[in-house]
């Protein structure tokens, strides 16, 4: 009996799927980071990054515009705010555009809109001082996207965190541009910003976008190695003040927003703990014995190298009996 039937969509099970997706995770990261970024930009321009600092800094950006606006009588901090927000916009925009261009050249599907490039650029802008020349930031983002990410095939393929690659290369090559004043990046300008980063980070964890083990492990690693160092060498001040470490460096940003990158970190539980605690310990080690006060990129990239190895620590499969029926 021939009978008419609509044309149905067919497909393999499961027919239910969680609504989480890669791009939603990236947008969640960006949204969680945005309050801290904006407040940081504001504080940067009011505080250390106002017009006076801008004018004195070598390689100053926007100097012609600054002169012009000064002539017109605009408040200094407003200009500074423009500069800080401009940095954020430049970072995020460069992330998007560079990624799109690379994907066109490499003939990859256009995943640029999934927000990952934007996130990388935004993160990089947040760790730059206000005096950074625009081309250094742009170069950093371009390096992050091209050398850190797309050369390995893009999201899912890279071994090192792209933003850390960009950060390290400009830190080591054009360091004099981004190391002028300590603790004056958007992300570390003021404890309030760190507080907002923390809130955003906890929200990400609560929503399930971030494996909670990573920030936990990093903080535990920092605390434990700080305590151990102070116990062994009570007179040595190199480890610094704990409150200072957490409120004026990039540790919290790294713990919640950088080290939590999924591709360059392990996925199995034990591996995650090794990776996270390793970052915390390495951070303190480099801080105490190295020349860097805030060695976030070094700690993370070293543990990125170890991540595939750490991920080999896998749970034993549950013993199940599969019948043939």
């Amino acid at each position: 009996m021939p009978s008419e039937s609509p044309l149905f969509t067919v497909g393999p099970p499961p027919h239910w799927r969680s609504k989480v997706s890669v791009s939603k995770t990236n947008y969640a990261f960006i949204l969680a980071l945005l309050p801290a970024a904006l407040i940081g930009a504001l504080l940067q321009s009011v505080g250390a990054g106002g017009l006076p600092a801008l004018a004195e800094a070598p390689g100053v950006k926007l100097d012609i515009v600054a002169e012009l606006i000064k002539e017109l009588g605009v408040e200094g901090w407003l200009l500074g705010l423009g500069g800080s927000i401009g940095l954020l916009a430049l970072g995020a925009g460069a992330g998007l555009v560079v990624e799109y261009i690379v994907q066109v050249i490499f003939r990859q599907p256009y995943y640029a809109t999934n927000g990952h490039g934007v996130l990388m650029g935004m993160l990089l802008a947040m760790v730059m001082p206000p005096t950074v020349p625009w081309w250094v930031l742009f170069l950093g983002v371009a390096i992050a996207i091209v050398l850190g990410k797309q050369i390995y095939g893009g999201l899912g393929g890279y071994p090192f965190h792209p933003m850390i690659v960009g950060w390290l290369i400009i830190l080591l090559s054009w360091g004099y541009h981004i190391r002028l004043v300590e603790h004056n990046s958007i992300a570390a300008i003021h404890p309030a910003v760190v507080f907002f980063i923390l809130i955003g980070g906890v929200a990400l964890v609560a929503l399930g976008h971030v494996r909670w083990e990573v920030p936990f492990g990093i903080i535990i690693g920092v605390l434990a190695s700080w305590a151990l160092f102070n116990h062994l060498y009570p007179d040595n001040p190199k480890a610094g003040n704990l409150v200072e470490i957490f409120t004026t460096t990039h540790v919290i940003l790294a713990a919640f927003f950088i080290a939590t990158d999924q591709t360059s970190s392990p996925a199995n539980k034990t591996g995650i703990w090794v990776y996270a605690i390793g970052i915390g310990v390495l951070y303190m080690l480099i801080r105490v014995y190295g020349k860097w006060q805030d060695p976030v990129p070094f700690a993370i990239i070293l543990m990125n190298i170890l991540a595939p190895l750490a991920d080999r620590i896998r749970p034993k499969p549950r013993e199940v009996v599969i019948q043939n029926g």
Partner: protein, 436 residues
């Protein structure tokens, strides 16, 4: 410990797939004017037709056979109106299908009554075969091939699973509530038939106290009411089972009891309707052979172009290409997903987010296995215990890259099975040449 505190107390999100804990009300479906029976096994072997167009058939008569043995049994008296090529439920190509117009008398009683406690096991197994009792599972097979003389194993423990296997399905719970009194008898009878040392009834945790009070004298095991704990391999593990443990669905056990005690051919199936919103809506007692078009019409749903029609639960069900397929003894739910709600698969690269690792009930590496399948590294998949996968589909359900992980795992398993088969053939040939 810390993880549990974080996840339970602070509410950190972890995907959960709870099973229904309360049965929805049951409505009995009127006998439709056409019943349809596909002459095909669940894994796609066609059967021989035993009737022809215009034949009058009785309840208990064979409609199709395989190797001289009855394979499809007619549950009602009626007339064969046509034999056509029709759609199969499980994605096989068109199968020869017998359409029957049921007579006014729809009684499924076809045989004399036997005593479930006294009659010999041989007699009871003969009854299973003549009544055509199939297992209520993804691939319904004759009971005797699963736990009976033809299974080729000595059953040690038999588990009667009085729990639904997928979220939003409550058909087994509804049956449990209706027929509590018969469960012990059915379990005892099946245990005696297959010579099991131990018979247990597995029930979802919320029903345990109820089950313990009504099923006196039968061992009751509690199963967590969350998917996929009620799937066979995990149930076996929970009762500390071995290779000689078998799990039989409650509905199969009750059908077996009815065939023995009342001489009935299995004639109805309890089926849950899952609404387009993805929630369990009601339970229907549906005559076997009811076509999906009648089922959906009765349920007040009209599937349209590009919708997804699923027979079975949301995580393991079969998407249908035609409404001509009909309900058989392995169907426990049906659902309609409107076209705008359908989530498509994409092939984005795995970003190593670890969501699949968190949900895998067997603690495998589903993301990695998926990649091995994708790139044809089947031996690597074998190293990573792909054979232990119970195919619950949770990995693919939570995948942020929307990767069809389950399909790649199935492909890897399939390729490995093929390879083993060809190796065996090669070895036998080698032995034969050596002998000659």
């Amino acid at each position: 410990m810390l993880e549990e505190v974080l996840e339970n107390v602070l509410g950190f999100r972890r995907p959960r797939f709870p099973l229904a804990t309360k049965p929805l009300p049951v409505t009995t479906f009127e006998m439709p004017s056409i019943l349809s029976f596909a002459l095909i096994s669940c894994d796609g072997r066609p059967f021989q037709a035993e009737v022809k167009e215009g034949d009058e058939v009785e309840a208990g008569q064979a409609l199709g056979s395989e190797a001289g043995r009855a394979a499809v049994i007619c549950p009602v008296k009626g007339k064969v109106t046509a034999i056509v090529r029709g759609a199969d439920l499980r994605g096989a190509s068109l199968a020869r299908t017998v359409l029957i117009n049921p007579a006014a008398d729809t009684s499924p009683v076809a045989f004399n009554n036997l005593d479930p406690d006294k009659d010999s096991a041989e007699e009871l197994w003969k009854r299973m075969e003549e009544a055509g009792v199939l297992t209520d599972s993804l691939c319904p097979r004759p009971l005797s091939q699963v736990i009976g003389p033809e299974s080729g194993i000595e059953i040690d423990t038999l588990v009667v699973l009085a729990a639904d296997r997928e979220p939003e399905v409550s058909s087994t719970l509804a049956l449990f509530r209706e027929r509590k009194g018969d469960i012990s008898t059915a379990a005892r009878m099946l245990g005696r038939m297959c010579g099991a040392n131990k018979v247990t009834v597995a029930v979802p945790a919320p029903l345990v106290s109820d089950a313990r009070s009504t099923l006196s004298g039968t061992e009751v095991v509690s199963i967590p009411a969350s998917y996929p704990e009620t799937l066979e391999p995990l149930v076996i593990q929970r009762v500390n089972g071995t290779r000689s443990t078998r799990v039989i669905a409650l509905e199969t056990a009750l059908a077996a009891l009815d065939a023995v005690r009342e001489g009935k051919v299995p004639s109805h199936k309890m089926v849950s309707l899952i609404s387009p919103a993805g929630k369990g809506k009601s339970n229907l007692r549906v005559p076997l052979g009811t076509r999906l078009r009648d089922l959906f019409q009765e349920a007040g749903l009209s599937p349209r172009d590009r919708d997804k029609v699923i027979v079975g639960g949301p995580l393991r069900g079969f998407a249908q290409y035609s409404l001509d397929a009909s309900v058989d003894q392995g169907v426990d739910a049906f659902m309609l997903i409107p076209s705008e709600e359908i989530e498509t698969w994409t092939n984005e690269p795995c970003v190593n987010c670890g969501a699949c690792l968190k949900v895998c009930p067997v603690k495998l590496q589903p993301g990695l296995l998926g990649k091995f399948g994708e790139f044809g590294l089947f031996d690597r998949a074998e190293e990573f215990s792909v054979d232990k996968c119970i195919e619950c589909g949770l990995c693919a359900a939570v995948c942020t890259g929307r990767r069809p992980i389950l399909q790649w795992i199935r492909m890897a398993k399939n390729e490995l099975a093929k390879k083993r088969a060809s190796q065996e053939v090669a070895e036998t040939e080698k032995c034969e040449t050596e002998e000659s």
